[in-house]
């Protein structure tokens, strides 16, 4: 039975990378199902993602033998086993739209991951989560002292052996240490077209400014609020007819779509972070 791997590489650009990597794969009998490459001419960086199928090739052997090529080209790289599903912890607050959407897509096979648990600071969404057969943890956050709650959150994430965390409208700011520990692995959905309207109540800010489009942004969480690398964005047309409540309602559809696309690409190793930007091989 053939195995599927994804080879993700980022390195200084120079002649011969593709030839060396594809030659190595061919020599091992691997077949390249999908190939994506990007040369960033500005800063001389090269990015690639190969979807590899092989009858014979084992991941351990690949990694061992590829190491010398990687060293030669000063590569940041990883090989992920496409058959190994990531473990993704979802964090939510009271609003259900993103959660309902993600759980539907997950159960429909659109999101190639396991969901060991959902963590929330409220109990509102417990029944929905448990109906899907997923463990629900409530961790209340005391505004006066948030540290104990986040210690518990971090314990639960670690206990779930999570590869990634999705803030599906969690509405709480994670502590810097947690952001740091899971750098490039925590995905947030912000309900505005960043960098417009960062921070709280973006739909009300949008209403006040009288914009004609509202948006949503899926990004990796960094220590600086709403400023991490952007994975995906989209917008929705609005008009003077719409109240702030309408913007909230219309925005939910954009949030759902943008988060789902961003997460899907993340799970398929299609998002490569470089500095505060992303290369997305969608």
């Amino acid at each position: 039975m053939p195995h599927n791997y994804r080879l993700i590489v980022s390195c200084p650009d120079r002649v011969g990378i593709v030839s060396r990597v594809s030659g190595f794969i061919a020599a091992q009998g691997g077949s390249i199902i999908e190939a994506n490459q990007h040369s960033d001419l500005d800063n001389g960086r090269f990015f690639m993602r190969y979807d590899i199928q092989s009858e014979a090739l084992g991941a351990a052997a690949f990694r061992a033998e590829f190491e010398s090529i990687a060293r030669e080209f000063a590569m940041d790289w990883r090989l992920s086993d496409a058959s190994r599903r990531q473990r993704v912890v979802l964090m939510v607050s009271r609003e259900s739209h993103c959660l309902v959407d993600l759980l539907y897509r997950w159960s429909a096979g659109e999101l190639d991951c396991d969901i060991p648990c959902v963590i929330s600071n409220h109990d509102d969404l417990r029944a929905l989560v448990e109906w899907h057969g997923i463990t629900f943890h409530r961790v209340s956050v005391d505004p006066a002292d948030k540290a104990p709650a986040f210690a518990e959150v971090e314990r639960l994430i670690a206990a779930a052996d999570a590869d990634s965390v999705v803030l599906a409208r969690y509405m709480q700011i994670l502590p810097p240490a947690l952001c740091e520990r899971y750098a490039g692995r925590i995905i947030n959905i912000h309900h505005s077209f960043l960098p417009s309207f960062a921070g709280a109540k973006p739909y009300h800010q949008a209403f006040e400014r009288g914009v004609k489009l509202i948006g949503a942004t899926c990004h990796y969480v960094t220590q600086e609020l709403d400023a991490g690398p952007i994975i995906e964005q989209d917008i929705q047309r609005v008009s003077h007819c719409h109240t702030p409540q309408d913007l909230v309602r219309l925005g939910r559809d954009v949030e759902k779509a943008v988060l789902a696309r961003g997460l899907r690409w993340h799970l398929q190793d299609r998002v490569l972070i470089h500095g505060n930007k992303t290369v997305v091989f969608s």
Copy 2:
């Protein structure tokens, strides 16, 4: 031969406005071709635009008789003669894309206006303008002392008897007094999705931030830079593949489209300003 008028009204909302206005029009034998209304429930303001066709009705008589209704309902209002074409002065710098687009639409009958002249701080676009049979004025702007240039610009606008001014990528900041004198009548196209990336070089700002969509904003010019009432916005999807130069190129198409829509609506009296926002009956 029937005449066409547009009645534009903004007033405090209360029972009976539509009845009184439409009763008045019917009593004069006027027929309402298109009607748009908006009740802003937040601040209790009512907006309406009626496209009126009448065999008998004269504008002077309408205005005289309508005055008492207007006073009763504390209306801001105007009646415009749809057969009278606005006089629009275009201002440009060196980039031709918006100008080419507006001149095409104007010659194709999409923009219901006369263009008495085009004013530019450079000579690059003279031949294009003159080929269309339109007067071209070059007014160089001395960075060390801009006042004389803007005095001349203002003189030319006044001499052209302009109703409106369009900054079709003019790239100079107009002096506050000029903005004030033509408040609600100067339209600018900004090459970003405001309020993101106000100010200079928005495409480079967008590139630096790594956004996945770029945009353009058509707005009325006020004394505060890039902060006036927004008429129209739109976006274009971009990716890591695009250089700042690509963003500039792709953005041109959005700028053209957004400016043309905004100007068309302005010329048809479809844009009502209220505070720093617009009601657009598109």
Copy 3:
């Protein structure tokens, strides 16, 4: 406590309609919250929808007194009580995406209706429906003799006292008599951008033709398959990368969105049918 009504009118266009109708409403102390009008200049037909708020006005009295105006202008009209929720029967087959989406929106208050029951020819979605506290009826359809099944379907719809029926990917063709009985009240979602790819397997047809956009169409059901009045359509960009299975997956999102918008407008009396076309006051 104020009552809300919606007055829906379609009649031959002539001078004085708005004046008479708005005068009548004002005389009754009614306030027009939202007004939409459309003059179809091609065939001289006038359409209007008024959202009316009144402290005093009763529906029965309104209807009785309005009758003489309606007769004078040869109006097709109805007054609906905005506080009375329509009863909507959903019909599904095995695919859950539209159902999950509608149930979410219903529970979030986006769809102003009651759902007395869901009818399906399969049992797959029973648990989901019942978890929402809604009755689920399975009515198997025997391909060799569909009549008994549709007799039962019609009995259930009647027993549910349904105002409208939504085919949320039901995948069976309703008998002509049923279409006729509920004309203008059965909404279907077709998974193509009609009139392209009517009939079966539209995504495979789209794949074969090599189109660069796929779409979905929400329309009223008539006796002629996929040919009824269109309420709403939207599209999704695709490319050579996408397999027919990808088109199916991507299309689900368009189907959900288009059906939800169409149904929402239908429930708010925003869709007026005229011949085989619709006026949508969205």
Copy 4:
């Protein structure tokens, strides 16, 4: 000074293609600036486009030496010199919007081609074309006997040494022999979202059907009318407010945009035809 080439390959998919091709390029000191690949899993076909930069490599030598690889893998292939601008003949009728747009983009450097001449069956657009310094040929088409006109058209195309022909709203059906001779090199813009509304007056067909979106399609011309391989499509939202004339006006913007994108990709060798479909490496 480095040279830029584009290598376009289509062949049966099998292990080792990328390795062999990239190995060959690296051995010649060529650097791959942009790489696009697509494996069509359905029919086992592989497509690739490499943007190659080289100091030393000459096209003739490349072609000679690459031949043996091409034979081994049964490749359809070509190497194009990126510095050699294609010669593109534009054909128009009376409507100017696509022509104005293409001439603007050409003069702004967005379209990397020479335009030896414009051919039209009417004289309306002569002044515009000649103002751009381009030769204009009028070839009237006699409805009773079109053969002489098309003989002259074909002679002019040959005399212009055209690589490609663009029907920028030419509105005449080309004879089959001409379509055949320039297969994959004649681009048409059709003013509908094909396969909906093929043939004449698509906007009127769209109006009659009551669709909520109109579109345009850029495709290669084949002997079967409006049925050739699709390069690009896009749409524009419309409503009951729009007359057929409005659809024509709004459609012009979509036509321009879709044709310009399709032509740009064609000129950059980004469009690979396979059967009646295209792979577009955009």
